[in-house]
């Protein structure tokens, strides 16, 4: 009996020790103000952790816990489900345009008070997302390009046009994004072969674009949802061509991998990410300080230099040199995604798209 009670007490002690170990992050959090920030996992998050967040904590005293978020709309679904239960897996998240708009439809984002963003006047208008009644749903974080990427060992010469995707010589060599709403290949098809994205105004136009896009299928080896899968295959030359993010490709090339990113003559696909605050978050105060900090031209310039993204503030407000700006952007008019379609026709587009690639 005696032995038993000792055992039980030891167990209790061990349990308490264990519980307090688990509670450690909470203790840390209690010491200071903190903020959970969601950024895309991988190179992107590593780069933020190394170059941006420590400086922010130094300047403001707010500790940042960075959360690796998945791309596409997977994170939106998680935030939405969590918000319904009153939880916020991250307070502020970087959200792509399609996800921003879908979140706006359900009032997922807490409106941002622009009076508290000192550099608001420098922000480019197209990177500020607004609710129909004018409240600000999200503030431009970074913008990025999806470009034509190639393995330099396999392709000695860089391709010059998106038309390379249709070239029969590239049979079974391409890696393309697997979803209609993040690959923006309809826009690419329209711009490359149909004179511009305006043809997508009508359903007939969209169906024609689908038809043209179907011709790419024999060239595609991988339709990827998971970026790591394509990135790996591109580096090794297993899948030597495809569409991918300009910034991450640049970082990989800088690390010595045989990859290159090319702005085709029809333009790269420009997408952007907003900082958005989940309605379930209790950290509105800290979130405004964070967004204010991130909008500073100096920070935007650091992002361009270190992460390879394109600034969301006016270029002349930053101290980026021509060369630095050219590395993250291009003078070629970009292909701007038709975000409106992914709101009004999302299910129809998704159905046609799935039938196209699976069928």
């Amino acid at each position: 009996m005696n032995i038993n009670s000792i055992k039980r007490r030891t167990l209790l002690g061990a349990g308490l020790a264990g519980a307090s170990m688990l509670a450690m992050p909470a203790v840390l959090r209690a010491q200071d103000k903190s903020l959970k920030v969601g950024v895309y996992g991988g190179y992107f998050k590593d780069s933020f952790d190394k170059n941006i967040f420590p400086e922010f904590t130094k300047a403001t005293g707010i500790a940042v816990e960075s959360i690796a978020e998945p791309t596409g709309e997977a994170w939106l679904v998680q935030l939405e489900q969590a918000a319904r239960a009153g939880q916020a897996p991250a307070d502020v998240s970087m959200m792509s345009q399609v996800a921003m708009l879908k979140g706006q439809a359900t009032e997922l984002w807490t409106p941002i008070d622009m009076a508290r963003i000192k550099d608001a006047s420098n922000l480019l208008d197209r990177f500020v997302n607004k609710y129909p009644d004018g409240r600000v749903a999200g503030v431009g974080a970074v913008s990025w390009y999806i470009t034509l990427v190639t393995n330099t060992n396999v392709y000695k010469e860089a391709p010059t046009s998106w038309a390379a995707l249709w070239d029969p010589a590239n049979a079974d060599k391409l890696g393309l994004l697997a979803l209609v709403s993040n690959s923006f290949l309809l826009e690419v098809t329209a711009k490359t072969h149909m004179g511009g994205t305006n043809v997508l105004d009508t359903e007939e136009g969209i169906l024609k674009a689908f038809e043209k896009l179907a011709e790419v299928k024999p060239n595609v080896r991988l339709w990827y949802r998971d970026e790591a899968q394509f990135e790996q295959a591109l580096k090794s030359g297993e899948i030597p061509m495809g569409q991918y993010y300009h910034d991450v490709t640049g970082l990989a090339a800088a690390d010595g991998h045989p990859v290159r990113s090319t702005f085709p003559k029809e333009g790269g696909i420009q997408d952007s990410g907003c900082w958005a605050l989940s309605r379930a978050s209790q950290k509105s105060e800290e979130a405004h300080i964070f967004i204010d900090y991130m909008c500073q031209p100096a920070i935007q310039a650091t992002l361009s230099r270190k992460v390879g993204t394109s600034p969301t503030v006016k270029r002349e407000s930053t101290d980026l040199t021509d060369k630095e700006f050219a590395a993250v952007s291009s003078d070629i008019e970009p292909i701007v995604p038709r975000y409106d379609l992914y709101q009004t026709k999302s299910d129809w587009l998704n159905q046609k798209w799935t039938e196209l690639i699976v069928g």
């Binding site: 679904v77 697997a178 899968q229 030359g237 009004t344 998704n350 799935t354 039938e355 699976v358």
Partner: protein, 284 residues
């Protein structure tokens, strides 16, 4: 010891805990899923509670029928491959020394500790052009030049069989260990070759175990959604992949739930058919 059927309520009490667990972790979530499958989808948003059949109507098309058919066919193929490979393997394993058995079983169990992601990436590397097994064949002079074996149906099948094989062996193992060795000895004494004794004595004696194993592997394989994506082309994507697409990327929970409910119903139907057919076979 004589077993008596439970008489009082107290006799059933040991069942309370598993029953509660089953209710909390299976019945309730499944009920929620059925409810959501009838909800109204808000395009470009989320969903609102309602009672509509739109989600099921959308599923009833030649396209999704084809995908469902492929998923079932794939799961059946995996189940048959697994049992065909695992039955002789396990039979031989049970006749080995205890020490050897343990080594094999530990090795098989260690495969279970690998996640689907690791298995998928490992096989896609093994099947790749740049680093895959064809390079060994080239080095041996058996092949002209290295080529990629993935994405293909064979690659998906290999990956899924690899993943399900340990389960198959672990399910078959107890039955084969308990199998009375005198049965085969009798067959041998009567002049049957070892191979013949295996097919005419061991296999029929294990009929029920084999059917149960086939069903288990079939259901296990039906839920696979990562390997078809990592190792296959879009036409090899199973229904589970499309369900994931709808739930995770399209935020279309009602449609995803409807597809999942449909998949469960079809699976249960097939399993019931197998069991009924088995009973009839026994009666005859």
């Amino acid at each position: 010891m004589r077993r008596e059927p439970p008489q009082t309520f107290g006799d059933y009490s040991p069942l309370l805990f598993p029953a509660a667990m089953l209710t909390i972790f299976f019945v309730v979530p499944f009920g929620t899923m059925i409810a959501v499958s009838f909800f109204q989808r808000q395009q470009g948003g989320f969903y609102t509670p309602a009672f509509v059949f739109d989600n099921y109507a959308r599923f009833l098309s030649a396209f999704f029928g084809g995908v469902l058919g492929f998923s079932l066919m794939m799961a059946i193929a995996v189940a048959i491959c697994c049992v065909v490979l695992a039955l002789p393997f396990t039979y031989l394993l049970t006749r080995m020394a205890r020490r050897v058995q343990i080594v094999w079983l530990v090795a098989l169990l260690s495969i279970l500790s690998l996640s689907e992601v690791i298995i998928g990436f490992a096989w896609s590397t093994l099947f790749s052009r740049t680093a895959g097994i064809t390079n060994i064949l080239v080095a041996l002079g058996l092949m002209g030049e290295a080529k990629a074996l993935t994405p293909s149906f064979a690659a998906v099948l290999t990956g899924m069989v690899y993943q399900a094989f340990p389960y198959t062996v672990l399910v078959l193992f107890p039955a084969l260990v308990r199998l009375d060795p005198t049965l085969t000895e009798a067959a041998r004494t009567l002049g049957a070759s070892p191979l013949r004794a295996f097919f005419t004595v061991v296999v029929p004696a294990l009929r029920n175990t084999i059917v149960a194993t086939l069903i288990m592997v079939f259901i296990f394989a039906l839920g696979s959604y990562l390997l078809p994506q990592l190792l296959g082309r879009p036409q090899h994507w199973t229904l589970s992949v499309l369900i994931t697409d709808q739930a995770i990327y399209q935020s279309n929970m009602p449609f995803a739930a409807a597809m999942a409910v449909f998949l469960v119903l079809v699976t249960l139907g097939l399993v019931a058919l197998t069991v009924i057919a088995g009973r009839k076979g026994e009666a005859a």
